[in-house]
Amino acid sequence: MTRTTQTVAAHPRTPTALPPSGAAGAYSTQMNYALSNALTRSFKPLGDSKPRGSDSHLSTLLENAKAIFKVTTNTVAMHLLSSDWRARLFRQVDSLLDAEEWDEDDKPVVSGSSLTFIRMLIFLKARRPGLGATNDGNLVASWTTGSNRLTIVCKPDDSVRWVVSTQTDVGCETAAGQTTILRLPVVLQPYNPQQWFSDEG
């Protein structure tokens, strides 16, 4: 019988559903977490159950959002610049999602936004941005170089909204749009995006 070469589609469209393995099942729930992280990236809340601040429910939601962000980041941590880079990013997230500072009317950051944020940073090989959040739970990354500024709102499913503000010979010029992470280098090209993404380790 002839055999084909063992090739696999570079863009598999079938989401992996790994069947449970009896031989490998000893780690039970632990492995479910691992496989969830590695395969489907469908994360459960993992956070601290200790309430802080005036609203314990909000505090728990914020702790969960922090945990999900960190788990998401850890899944691809081998591709980040350094452990120090990761540690500083986590400190930014801890500060952003601090229950004492959070407006209780704002929605905590959603997991899909965290995933888009991390995928975007790795894809762009961008230096660590400033961090914010919209009131509907999306992370906002921002880079400033001199008086030029790039702001990107990270929505679930690799969707991003970008806003550029740059100084030109005729004054301040602004532009904005909505696209996917993959298209960002193309749509930002006229604004010399490396001014925001390069430098820093």
């Binding site: 070469t5 063992q6 090739t7 780690y27 395969l39 159950s49 081998m78 990761r86």
Partner: protein
């Protein structure tokens, strides 16, 4: 053994299994003792559901399983689980190396193992889940054998590439006390843009001749290290290694 700049380990897990159940109160005390290293605690409630279809109509039985104390570090990378019949110590990426992991295992083991007499460990396992992220530079298909030596053998069914695969094998290792499970599959979608990812899951475990003395159990865990390393190296190619350097 190669030392990689960017090891592809997404999770390293060491588990000690005992046949002597531990009480809820003892588990809680253990969990409290590690709060300094593992800030977050989740008490996991388990339910076992059985569906019996024998004799016509399906009947459903459910039983609550003992609670587990799951703790994670502030960065969510270090995990410990105290369960009624097991201790699990795990590390997510970034993997800091065996020596660091080993020290964390040792600290938790001291708390769990109940002094020199031990808990009667019946299974000792070290499982390393690796994810090989392969950049796609416009290719429509990836030749698996460029990266992996653990491959499916597929007859000539179609000119089109596989959309996914799963290969799993269980076998003894070179060390007569240890066995292994190895598995590879596709991770779809890849967590990285413009990449395709392959999971390589290596589980080495020992269920025979496990010493009863607490200190001796940790000593034999060291045997797992070269075993899992050798299996990993034999499952991958130089082209895969280049991705981690």
């Amino acid at each position: 053994m190669n030392s990689y700049l960017r090891p592809p380990i997404v999770e390293a897990v060491v588990e000690f299994l005992t046949n002597s159940p531990i009480s809820f109160d003892d588990l809680q005390a253990m969990s409290n003792k590690v709060a300094g290293d593992y800030k977050n605690q989740t008490i996991e409630k388990g339910i076992e559901v059985r569906i019996d279809t024998l004799g016509g109509a399906a009947t459903i039985h459910s039983d609550q399983t003992p609670d587990r104390f799951r703790r994670t570090s502030d960065d969510q990378a270090d995990i410990v689980i105290f369960a009624d019949t097991s201790l699990i110590v795990a590390r997510a990426a970034p993997y800091p190396g065996w020596d660091v992991l080993s020290e964390r295992i040792r600290k938790n083991w001291r708390i769990w193992s109940k002094g020199q007499s031990g808990r009667g460990v019946v299974r000792l396992g070290a499982r390393f889940i690796n994810r090989i992220d392969i950049p796609i530079n416009g290719e429509e298909r990836i030749e698996l054998s460029d990266y992996l030596n653990l491959l499916p053998q597929i007859p000539n069914i179609s000119d089109k590439p596989m959309s996914t695969f799963l290969v799993q094998a269980s076998m003894p290792t070179a060390n007569p006390h240890w066995d292994c499970n190895i598995m590879s599959t596709i991770v779809a979608p890849s967590p990285l843009l413009n990449h395709m990812s392959i999971l390589l899951d290596i589980d080495v475990f020992r269920m025979r001749d496990i010493p009863s003395k607490s200190a001796d159990v940790l000593a034999i865990l060291e045997e797992a290290r070269p075993l899992k390393n050798t299996i990993f190296e034999r499952c991958i190619t130089d082209r895969a290694r280049d991705l981690f350097r």
